[in-house]
Symmetry: C2
DNA sequence: ATTCTTGCAAACCCTTTGCAAGCTA
DNA sequence: TAGCTTGCAAAGGGTTTGCAAGAAT
């Protein structure tokens, strides 16, 4: 609806890419991260991801994990959310369109949930009070069946 | 509805206070902070609050601000929320019962909004997937009329 | 007098950045 | 070869904590 993300630079209407953006090269690390994220169904912090990859014997630096995640997020390939204690958690979601999450605060297991009514409500409330460039954050945290006592 | 906050220690059914908790003494700093928060209608970070108080000539340490805010939050006297970039922002809300916020991402000006449907929706979604101890985070960010271009 | 509070500085943690070396195209 | 990518270590920024000095009861 509302364009919440104004492009920083112009994009070529033909290719949809930014002509001014630097060329992108592929790398083992980024491929590894992408593969890892694809097989995950939980939200994980950058540190978690780094630790997991290292544990598997992969060689990748923490800074690289952060940089790669940042790029995936910018490209819209990965979702980010802030855990209640302020850490950023990442996840490659199955649903490409706007949605929310039901996240287990213990293991990160996540269920994607959509709710158009909430979005409409947010837009309405904002408009009623003269706010623009609306963005709403809706996350549900809980303890999943597996982690429950 | 659901008891989302299990008490860490037992509370005396008579007084409603925790017998094991240390005695609480009043202090100039805490009174000042409380007064400051009461006159504010915007969400502010601990750093902002500290800067504001210092600018007014008040003498109070940053650590004290953090500790005092933490206590107010624990007591349920102040609301906290995470800004999109991970900082904690505090505000003494007028509405004592559960509610959400429409926050200006520039100046922090806030409008308290209630929406029972969202809460019920969250509970329902969580229950449907076997999650317990549900907690939902719903915040709407935007640019208020005053900060808008 | 007791012990809760404060301040400062150091410690913590997550995240970002500088820069030289490595690798992709 | 050109220049994007990586790793490491250092720097940043917010928040917490240790500890001795300062208050409140």
């Amino acid at each position: 609806m509302t364009s919440t993300d104004p492009p920083m630079t112009g994009t070529d209407p033909a290719t949809g890419t930014d002509p001014a953006a630097p060329a992108r090269r592929r790398s083992r690390q980024r491929d590894t991260l992408r593969a890892y994220l694809t097989e995950q169904d939980t939200f994980r912090t950058a540190q978690d991801i780094h630790a997991d990859l290292r544990a598997r014997g992969e060689t990748i630096g923490l800074a690289t994990v952060y940089r790669a995640l940042q790029r995936l997020v910018d490209d819209g390939d990965v979702d980010v959310l802030r855990t209640p204690d302020g850490e950023a958690a990442y996840r490659r979601c199955a649903t490409p369109r706007h949605h929310h999450h039901l996240v287990c605060r213990d293991c990160g297991r996540t269920v994607e949930v959509s709710d158009p009514p909430v979005a409409r409500w947010a837009e309405q409330v904002a408009r009623d009070h003269g706010f623009t460039d609306v963005e709403h954050v809706v996350e549900v945290f809980g303890t999943c069946a597996g982690c429950g006592s």
